[in-house]
């Protein structure tokens, strides 16, 4: 999991990157991350989806769409909470 920052340096959340995404970032490119509510959680969490872009700035992952990252971060937290409840 790598931390994501906005252009002002505020930490917004974190995201796991795949090998392919990391290679694009390492090459100086930017990536688009798509997110959605897992299908088996639609009933509990509703259906949300969106996307945000990331690029590497030094050793930091930076986004120019912080609102989407925040939405994604909230969704991931809700997913984690639901999973923990299911496993308990």
């Amino acid at each position: 999991m790598l931390a994501i920052y906005d252009v002002d340096g505020n930490e917004l959340g974190s995201v796991p990157l795949t090998e392919k995404q990391q290679a694009v970032l390492d090459a100086g490119g930017s990536i688009d991350v798509l997110y959605h509510t897992p299908q088996l959680m639609h009933a509990a969490l509703g259906t949300r989806n969106g996307s945000f872009s990331l690029h590497q700035d030094g050793d930091r992952l930076v986004t120019s769409t912080p609102a989407a990252v925040k939405d994604y971060t909230q969704l991931r937290a809700a997913v984690a909470t639901l999973k923990a409840r299911e496993n308990s």
Partner: protein
């Protein structure tokens, strides 16, 4: 004397064949539209065995993948190791320490430059087809099987829940975080364990007791795939017993063979071979029956013919010609079957390829698969561990007609029997009886003489004929026999 044509008709052992055009038995032949064709024997195209000695493990996986430059690579697996094969180096180990459970096989798929190998005993692994290198894990969860469908690598029968499938991030097989980049999972509410996936543009989720269609929904981030069940109460008995050709699925269910096309379930073995197959296959090992799509319009189902056959290999194959709906069978021993292609061996080089330094070597014939690189065909690993394909001398073929009253109401004296086959060799048997209540008796083998006929000279009310074409005979078509038969009095 009247000549009665007796055709080797469609092989339908499940129906009564008395006075019909159906054949009683056809072994080691391909089913054509109006004839049967020879089946070549398995011939090695590699001098190296897999697994390399001293290992004696059996082969439980065989696959070929294609590099970015179009070169074919062959992969094989034992319960503990994975190998790749090249003409130059033979078999090389690419991974070890695996735990394929008894009754399970490796499931392979290619995604871009990666070949992916999956089985329920360990985490899925991948290797680079282009660059070579060993197999390594890549973040995917443990599952029973794998399939590439569109831009996704899909795992079926997850270890956490066998009714689940899970697909990777789009175009990225290292993305396995659900909810990110279209990666997600779906649980089948019923239908039993997911046995595997098939198809491509239209995917099939094949379960123990159901089949569902899987279609990608471009632009739909909420659902990603549309999943709709199209077959209820029937599914595949084996994780490896189904295959797809185009948008059609062919599978072996508990009660026999079916095809699924455009959402419709069509019985392809009912009143043909289903009952015969269920009576002549080992029910305890139907879970490892393997379906292979041939390059020609045939589907092979490799199986064990009885509980008494050896554990280490399949001893039989039932063949389906999907263009004409006809069946036949083969008696061939093989550890694993697959559609395989390989790089070609250069005929005119004096390079380092083994077996090629001398063009006049008898190591392999000039029409060997080894010299026809890039041509996919049905191949296997034989019980000795050699990579083989169907290019050897023709197998011994057996063709048996249905039973007939050649002279209705009376006995029929059969004189000469003239086989409609272009093989130069062979023998004819006459199976005869006076009443349907009697057991069939078989005459001695009558050789085909210089006249092209076998002099049978046997009288009975009911006759059936068997033509055996010996191994190594060169022939192209067998259509039936013409029987010289005449009325020969009444039975009583």
């Amino acid at each position: 004397m009247p000549n009665v044509p007796v055709a080797w008709g469609e092989w339908r052992p499940d129906v009564a064949t008395l006075d019909t055009q159906f054949a009683n038995d056809v072994e080691n032949v391909f089913p054509g539209s109006n004839s049967y064709l020879p089946v070549p024997s398995l011939a090695p195209f590699s001098d190296a065995v897999v697994p390399p000695p001293p290992s004696t493990e059996r082969i439980v996986g065989l696959f070929s993948a294609r590099s970015t430059t179009g070169e074919w690579k062959v992969y094989a697996g034992t319960p503990t190791k994975l190998f790749t094969w090249t003409m130059l180096a033979g078999w090389s180990e690419l991974g070890s320490g695996y735990h394929v459970p008894e009754g399970e096989l490796w499931s392979f798929a290619q995604f871009g430059k990666w070949v992916v190998a999956v089985q329920i005993g360990d985490l899925p692994v991948r290797a680079d087809v282009d660059a070579g290198g060993t197999f390594a894990t890549f973040g995917a969860p443990i599952a029973h099987n794998v399939r590439t469908i569109g831009d996704f690598l899909i795992l079926g029968g997850l270890a956490s829940n066998r009714r689940k499938i899970m697909w990777s991030a789009i175009n990225d097989i290292t993305g396995w975080t659900i909810g990110l980049n279209l990666c997600d999972e779906q649980e089948m509410p019923d239908g039993g364990p997911v046995m595997g996936l098939a198809g491509d543009k239209v995917g099939f989720i094949v379960q123990d007791r159901a089949v569902s269609l899987l279609q990608f929904l471009p632009g739909d981030i909420t659902f990603i795939f549309s999943i709709s069940k199209i077959v209820y109460d029937r599914g595949s008995v084996s994780e490896y017993g189904f295959t797809s050709i185009g948008d059609n699925l062919y599978l072996l269910c508990e009660d026999g063979f079916y095809a699924v096309s455009q959402g419709n379930l069509t019985p392809i073995g009912h009143e043909k071979v289903n009952d015969w197959f269920l009576a002549n296959s080992d029910p305890g090992r139907r879970n490892v029956i393997q379906a292979i799509t041939a390059v020609k319009p045939y589907i092979f189902w490799a199986y064990h013919s009885s509980p008494g056959t050896p554990v280490g290999y399949y001893d039989s194959v039932i063949l389906f010609n999907w263009t004409n709906g006809r069946w036949a069978r083969m008696k061939v021993n093989a550890q694993m079957w697959a559609t395989v292609a390989t790089v070609n061996l250069d005929l005119d080089t004096t390079g380092s390829e083994p077996g090629d330094a001398l063009l006049d070597s008898t190591a392999r014939s000039l029409d060997s698969f080894a010299y026809m690189g890039g041509r996919p065909r049905v191949a296997a690993v034989d019980p000795a561990g050699y990579l083989v394909d169907l290019t050897g001398p023709n197998l011994q073929a057996t063709l048996e007609s249905g039973e007939a009253h050649l002279s209705p109401g009376t006995r029929a004296m059969v004189g000469d029997v003239y086989p409609l086959a272009d093989g130069v060799d062979g023998v004819i048997y006459d199976g005869f009886r006076e009443r349907l209540q009697d057991d069939v008796q078989w005459t001695q083998a009558f050789p085909i003489e210089i006249t092209g006929s076998a002099a049978v000279y046997n009288s009975a009310r009911l006759h059936r004929f068997r033509h055996i074409i010996p191994r190594d005979t060169k022939w192209t078509h067998a259509q039936g026999v013409v029987v010289d038969a005449q009325q020969d009095g009444t039975v009583a």
